[in-house]
């Protein structure tokens, strides 16, 4: 059988975000795969060198628009490390809550996209419906649906609105019931199981060597989570477990994300109970010393996000480096794809949860 190269993208229903997957097919079996990225590159790291520290926060929101809160939070965490600012306790609790709410929102968007990939439109409609509830909570908190601009260097922008705890508890009670519905829709559907199980195998060894992090790594059976292994904010104060699956296939990655949503509900409930009144923000220094460095890493919904910053003596960074989880994970795409049929591509790449804004930067 003659081999041929096939382009999937940049405009292709399989690609969430904007990238191009070139696969070499022998009949219907993929023998080679090559992800082409860079369609969204706008020189983020270079632009930030011309911005003041506070001006970078809304830009960090737009790094990964699926999980904008976790990226602007990561930037603020990095700057706090650079400027040696201690965040008040209440701000830490609020941050933990909104980060977990963001994780749920991001995973819901991923589930919706996976649903359309696999041709199941109900699995698109249901998560988008519940995502709106979380977006409403965020909108009450900070006024925006997606790009929040909420964390600040040294705290958060504003205190929680009235009835914050009540609204969150209501949404969580509702959402946990709905989560069971999604599992009934997906796990009990023969078609879903047939398409997701035993495809996209990524062994723990390969995943670690390729630098895969986050739910994709935990789907390969590696017990690693930055929230537990190097706790930031209040993750060491609450009681939760890391979700790990052993089967290493696309279905395992799906299970990890579903379990994580339930754990996030659990974390938010505990945080709401233990939050106490107090200050939400301290004033950080306006400038950073020349040559001083700061770094932070967090568990983004997609993996381990990392930022490294060098001060320049004024109110702009000398260099701001971003380590994006999906940029690293996409290099594992050939590993996951080769050997499977071409019809498995949406299931495999859909389980990875691509976000190209942070990948291309």
């Amino acid at each position: 059988m003659a081999e041929m190269w096939l382009n999937m993208g940049p405009q292709h229903p399989m690609t969430h975000g904007l990238w191009n997957l070139r696969v070499k097919v022998d009949g219907e079996t993929m023998t080679e795969a090559e992800p082409v990225i860079g369609y969204l590159h706008r020189g983020w790291e270079k632009i930030t060198e011309n911005r003041k520290f506070t001006q970078i926060i809304p830009m960090a929101d737009r790094l990964c628009y699926g999980a904008s809160m976790s990226w602007s939070h990561l930037y603020c965490l990095t700057m706090e490390n650079l400027m040696e600012v201690e965040v008040p306790e209440r701000a830490k609790w609020i941050r933990t809550i909104v980060l977990e709410a963001q994780r749920i929102g991001s995973h819901l968007m991923w589930l919706a996209a996976l649903g359309t990939d696999l041709g199941s439109y109900t699995v698109f409609l249901y998560p988008v419906r519940e995502r709106e509830l979380f977006l409403d909570l965020m909108q009450n908190l900070c006024g925006a649906r997606m790009t929040y601009n909420y964390p600040r260097i040294g705290g958060v922008r504003n205190d929680v609105p009235a009835n914050f705890e009540r609204d969150f508890t209501r949404v969580l009670n509702h959402f946990e019931k709905r989560l069971t519905d999604y599992e009934a829709l997906c796990d009990q559907s023969t078609i879903f199981r047939m398409r997701m199980e035993d495809v996209g195998y990524l062994s723990a060894e390969k995943a670690k060597n390729l630098g895969v992090t986050g739910p994709n790594l935990r789907g390969s059976g590696v017990d690693y989570d930055v929230r537990r292994d190097d706790p930031y904010e209040m993750y060491d104060q609450v009681d939760w477990k890391v979700c790990v699956e052993k089967t290493c296939d696309a279905y395992a990655r799906y299970r990890v994300k579903m379990d994580e949503m339930r754990e996030s509900c659990n974390i938010i409930r505990q945080c709401i109970k233990r939050m106490k009144p107090g200050a939400i923000r301290v004033k950080p220094p306006r400038t950073a010393p020349k040559g001083k460095t700061g770094w932070a890493h967090v568990e983004d919904p997609r993996g381990e996000g990392f930022m490294y910053v060098i001060g320049n003596g004024d109110d702009r960074p000398y260099r701001l480096k971003v380590r994006s989880p999906i940029f690293v994970t996409v290099s594992a795409a050939p590993e996951m794809l080769v050997g499977y049929k071409i019809a498995d591509v949406p299931a495999i790449m859909g389980s990875v949860d691509m976000c190209l804004g942070e990948t291309d930067r």
Partner: protein, 187 residues
């Protein structure tokens, strides 16, 4: 073909006769005023049919793509207004540019636009597609999609809410209703 050839119609081949007779009909309708009447009668039907099938291309670029997805979700339900996403540019009428356009993407976007069948419209959604937005000083971002594609409707916002996007489509419907007056027989 000019009308003086009328006496020689018998000497024409069949294809020549077809084009000649079509021309005669056109000219007759134009000069008797029948064309205007037909146009006036059919234009509302024509524009109604087109504006109720403004099928956007399923092409998510950046942040606004998530709002595009939310707009077709249950709360906003844009499908009731004819916005059903199709993945092939040949089947679509509207190119919804929802994100920043980089130098690497520009040829592909231009090609997608040219692959779409006429009549076609372009909607620039969000600040990035309108003018570059937060990446106004980026070396790799095209400062607005209207620098290389004609744009019909601009939807401001960063990102615009789904209601704003639906409102943009309503503006496009109005534009189609206006533009489609009396163009039926010209095609």
């Amino acid at each position: 073909m000019d009308l003086r050839l009328a006496p020689h119609a018998v000497a024409m081949s069949s294809s020549e006769f077809l084009s000649w007779s079509g021309e005669v009909m056109d000219q007759l309708m134009k000069y008797t005023g029948a064309k205007k009447a037909v146009d006036r009668l059919t234009a509302p039907i024509w524009s109604w049919a087109i504006r109720n099938a403004t099928v956007p291309l399923h092409f998510g670029i950046a942040c606004c793509a998530l709002e595009m997805a939310a707009a077709s979700g249950p709360r906003f339900d844009a499908e009731r207004l004819g916005m059903i996403y199709r993945s092939s540019p040949r089947q679509t009428e509207v190119l919804l540019v929802n994100g920043w356009v980089t130098a690497k993407l520009r040829p592909d976007l231009r090609r997608l636009y040219e692959q779409m069948a006429e009549p076609r419209w372009v909607i620039a959604m969000g600040e990035c597609a309108i003018s570059g937005g937060p990446w106004y000083d980026s070396h790799n971002t095209v400062q607005g999609v209207d620098t290389f594609i004609p744009v019909d409707v601009y939807i401001p916002g960063c990102p615009p809410r789904p209601e704003a996007m639906i409102d943009g489509f309503m503006k496009l419907h109005k534009k189609i209703t206006k533009e489609m007056k009396g163009t039926f027989l010209n095609d």
